[in-house]
């Protein structure tokens, strides 16, 4: 139990073991643990960054959606406006067309009327002449009285 040369051997053993433990156990394992810690920290920060980016993207998507909605609304209202414009336009055109047709029909009618009147006048003139002939029993010279007859026709 006394102190002897074992002490020297044990000192050597201890120093050797420190060297070995440092080389084989502490060195590689602490390096690995440090790397892992760094990796975890990196991963966490990356996750944080991803979350932030997601938030940004969501916000952007919301904005885009809002804009699209507004645009759609705009297009819709414009289309409505345009539609009503077209309808109004068509209405105006139709009225014009109707007016035009009405006017031309009226003109035609008037023309017809005046032509009928002319015809009538001529027939009345003939009738009047033939009546007068019968009354007078005397042939009236058509050529001689043409001027008179013309004036008569105009009077009717």
């Amino acid at each position: 139990m006394s102190i002897n040369a074992t002490l020297l051997i044990q000192i050597i053993a201890f120093v050797l073991l420190i060297w070995f433990v440092n080389k084989v156990l502490w060195g590689p394992l602490s390096k690995l643990m440090e790397e892992r810690q760094k990796k975890i920290a990196d991963g966490l920060s990356a996750a944080e960054k991803g979350k932030h980016e997601l938030e940004l993207a969501e916000q952007k998507a919301k904005e885009v959606l809002k804009e699209a909605k507004a645009q759609a609304q705009n297009v819709l209202s414009q289309a409505e406006k345009r539609g009503s414009e077209i309808v109004e336009d068509a209405k105006v055109k139709a009225t014009e067309e109707a007016d035009r047709i009405k006017a031309s029909a009226q003109a035609e009618i008037e023309q017809e009327v005046s032509r009928a009147r002319e015809e009538l006048r001529k027939e009345v003139a003939v009738l009047a002449i033939s009546g007068a002939e019968k009354i007078l029993s005397k042939e009236v010279n058509a050529a001689a009285h043409n001027d008179m007859l013309e004036a008569l026709v105009k009077q009717i």
């Binding site: 139990m1 006394s2 102190i3 002897n4 040369a5 074992t6 002490l7 020297l8 051997i9 044990q10 000192i11 053993a13 201890f14 120093v15 050797l16 073991l17 420190i18 070995f20 433990v21 440092n22 084989v24 156990l25 502490w26 060195g27 590689p28 394992l29 602490s30 690995l32 643990m33 790397e35 892992r36 990796k39």
Partner: protein, 266 residues
Amino acid sequence: MGTVEYIQHHLTNNTIGEGFWTFNMDTIVVSFLLGALIVFMAARLGKKLETGTPGGFQNFVESILDFVATNVRDAFPGHNPLIAPIALTIFLWVWIMNFMDLIPVDLLPYLYQLITGDSHAYLKVVPTTDLNTTLAMSFTVFALILFYNIKIKGVVGFIKMFLFHPFGKFFVPVNVVMTLIEEIAKPLSLALRLFGNMFAGELVFLLIALIGGTLAVGAAALFWAPLQVLLDLGWLIFHLLVITLQAFIFMVLTIVYLGMAHDEGH
């Protein structure tokens, strides 16, 4: 064989040589084997280290490393990459040498006696119950303390520490004596604390073992044998705490002492 002889037999080293040049072969062989076991396990683990998902054993070793690293961070000011491996070595080696205490006291000596064929062959299996082991470690630590004291404070600073600490410049002789005692007490207390605890623990195991050996004769064995088992189990569980605590104390004090050696303002 009497009680005293039994205990003395168990506490005698298997030696080679004479006088100072005596080698306690059991201490040397067992401590070398245990040290080799640590290195072997470390090397085996080192081959299949995993960064991502470490397995059970790696997790276990990592938690020990983490524990040691935390202690170094807490107790050691500044930075020295050598402190943590020293602390780890002390913790592992002391713990595993102390653990030899938990192997039944008669098992290994008995096996050894069987193998050698010499029924009186000595074998003291716990290296930390040999002062040579504990002193070897504490002297190494002491050498490191001296080395870092001189390295950090310089020779002049180191001498100043002896002359003017702790009572100032008017008590130089007292200071020298005080500081000398303080410094020498460090390695001695380290070594003697561990040695004393382990020696006493071993002794208690031997005494418990004696219950069965001497008292359990005939019908009395029915009473004494269970008592021995019970006491042995109790002391074993308690001692499991003690060996861990002693390894921890040796490690922490080493860190603290080396930290003090690094402290410039001392």
